[in-house]
């Protein structure tokens, strides 16, 4: 007698999805987002393994090789100090990631705390907070950053402050509007009625429920921070020589546009690809978090 083969009879379990399968499925659903994730990963690898990947010392000037065009010895050519551009771009990933992550995380986390607190406490606290945010938001990002940089001076740590501060009110504004809705939920009343403190309610009960807008702002800030740093360094007000930083490498690049076009081209390409990757990745995060945009 033969029994029909049905699932229960066979002693083979359904095949477990391995990491690769997950990856392939994600790549099919979110091709752009996956590409962005890969770019971010690549930059992270460049930053972590820079000493092993870079063929030359990024700081070592070698005046024999000034402005050498790209060849087999110097893959991307050399700058006006004879420094290898390829090595400087690899090391520049460290600066970009440090600034991108630190500014985005600190800026948006502070914004999250302020935004949720503003929505939770309401009343005069909220009113004053919102007016202060209005003031900060009325300044274009670059103008605010320039004003702050002129107070603190140049250098990588000061630039990070100048980039982080304008992010805080932007995130706080977005988070607040979501937190206003969460505040009205019964579970917040419940938490209050069993006597939890304000801090606990803000961080344990409301903050986790506004993660979607928070993460969207966070990922958007990463690319923006890298761009702002590049702009400030290009103006000579950001990271200072000899630190390898992409924006700094573009400084004076238009002077070389004719004689040594590789000097402005490669660092700019590095910035574009990095920000491109962060933005694609951020978009995928937003799509995943916003059910209305999720495609069927």
């Amino acid at each position: 007698m033969t029994t029909p083969e049905i699932g229960i009879g066979s002693n083979e379990l359904p095949k477990k999805n391995n990491v690769w399968d997950h990856f392939v499925r994600m790549a099919k659903r979110q091709p752009l987002g996956t590409a962005g994730g890969l770019v971010v990963l690549l930059i992270a690898i460049m930053a972590v393994f820079a000493p092993w990947l870079a063929p030359y010392d990024p700081l070592e000037a070698n005046f024999i090789y000034m402005l050498t065009p790209p060849d087999s010895q110097f893959l991307m050519g050399t700058d006006s100090f004879g420094r290898d551009l390829f090595s400087r771009i690899i090391y520049g990933a460290r600066t970009a990631l440090l600034i991108g992550f630190t500014c985005a995380i600190v800026g948006s986390a502070t914004g999250l705390a302020l935004g949720v607190a503003s929505a939770y406490f309401g009343g005069y606290f909220d009113l004053i907070m919102q007016r202060v945010i209005d003031v900060f938001m009325a300044f274009p990002l670059i103008i605010m950053a320039l004003a702050i940089v002129s107070i603190f001076g140049t250098g990588i740590d000061k630039v990070m402050i100048a980039i982080t501060i304008p992010f805080i009110p932007r995130c706080a504004r977005v988070v607040r509007s979501s937190a206003l809705a969460v505040r009205e939920m019964p579970f917040v009343d419940a938490a209050r009625s069993i006597g939890y403190g304000h801090l606990r309610i803000i961080f344990r009960h409301i903050a986790p429920n506004v993660m979607a807008p928070f993460l969207i702002m966070l990922t958007a800030f990463m690319g923006e921070a890298i761009l702002l740093e590049a702009s400030l360094s290009y103006l000579g007000l950001g990271v200072q020589e000899p630190t390898p930083a992409w924006g700094l490498m573009l400084q004076g690049g238009e002077e070389f546009a004719e004689s040594a076009p590789w000097v402005p081209i490669f660092p700019g390409l590095a910035i574009t690809i990095a920000v491109f990757g962060f933005n694609l990745f951020g978009d995928a995060v937003r799509d995943a978090l916003d059910p209305r945009l999720r495609s069927q």
Binding site: A138, S150, L227, L235
Partner: protein, 323 residues
């Protein structure tokens, strides 16, 4: 409606005063003032007496509250004072550059609209197809590319192509000519920065158009239009686009406001003598009067633009107007 407009206008005052206070404090926190920089810059010997006289003359040695009071009185009577660095009236310093910045901002906004609207609509109508991916990649690239780098690339491209075609390289003119004096010279200078920034800002508007269109295309009335057998082209261009325009108008208005003051880096690349470059110079020279006036100009344009956009929104959408 009128009381609403008046109320909204009054609401702008705290923001403006707040911005004035903020920039006033920020500037005073910067180490060294304009007199230190003028007489003691570059490590040269500075006569303390000379610096003190300069500070007295400019009123920097006055207590902060008196300086702030003078500044506020000046702001509300539209008397912007004299630049501490050049001794020219601030109004004059701004006026000679305002035209250039305004023209670049208008041209860049137009560029961005011309790119953004068709691309956004196509991208939404063909969601999740190859066309959509290409458009999205194109617009994200616009956000990712530093506009000053795009500027450098444009200059490089001009040099190479003119060299190849005409045998000698050509660069955009550096001296600004008003458009009514010589339109060709004017446009050949300003079209490039307008393209570089316009592309960047089009990216944001394209994405906004796309997501607004996607939302509208899922509305019931669009389904009705399809059900009654209208052509897809008519549905998209006539029925959906009109309603999707609202958020796009907002974003374009706000971008325009930012373009008026935010072209700091692009002006550097193209060597344009506009408001952005003036701002960088004013900040680095600790020129309090000029920096304060410039910031207040940018902030005022920004809040007024926001206000106008809100009003336009209410005017375009009856649901907002009557609620």
């Amino acid at each position: 409606m009128y009381s609403y407009i008046v109320k909204r206008l009054l609401m702008l005052l705290p923001t403006l005063i707040g911005a004035a206070i903020l920039i006033f404090i920020l500037l005073r926190l910067v180490p060294g003032d304009v007199c230190d920089l003028k007489f003691g810059g570059e490590g040269s010997y500075a006569d303390p007496e000379q610096i003190r006289q300069c500070q007295d003359r400019l009123g920097i040695s006055n207590p902060f509250y008196i300086q702030f009071w003078d500044y506020m009185v000046g702001f509300f009577t539209l008397d912007l004072g004299v630049s501490m660095w050049t001794n020219q009236p601030v109004g004059y310093e701004i006026a000679i550059r305002f035209e250039l910045s305004l023209q670049v901002a208008i041209m860049a906004t137009l560029t961005s609209v011309v790119i953004a609207l068709p691309l956004g609509v196509i991208s939404a109508a063909k969601q999740n197809t190859m066309v959509d991916y290409v458009v999205r990649a194109f617009s994200i690239a616009g956000i990712a590319m530093p506009s000053f780098w795009l500027g450098i690339l444009i200059i490089l491209g001009l040099l190479i192509t003119t060299q190849a075609w005409f045998g000698r390289s050509w660069m955009p003119p550096i001296i600004y000519t008003p458009i009514w004096v010589d339109p060709v010279a004017n446009l050949s200078q300003l079209i490039w920065p307008a393209l570089a920034t316009g592309y960047r800002y089009s990216a944001v508007a394209t994405r906004m158009t796309r997501s607004a269109m996607l939302e509208v295309l899922r509305e019931d009335y669009v389904r009705t239009a399809r059900a009654k057998g209208l052509m897809e082209k008519v549905i998209v261009n006539k029925h959906a686009l009109k309603n999707a325009m609202l958020p796009v108008v907002t974003i374009i208005g706000i971008e325009f406001a930012f373009l008026m003051g935010g072209l700091v880096v692009t002006e550097q690349v193209f060597n344009l003598n506009g408001l952005g470059k003036l701002f960088v110079a004013a900040v680095s020279q600790s020129d309090y009067t000029l920096t304060q006036a410039l910031v207040m100009l940018v902030v005022t344009i920004f809040v007024l633009m926001n206000f106008l956009v809100d009003m336009l929104y209410a005017w375009l959408d009856p649901r907002i107007r009557y609620s």
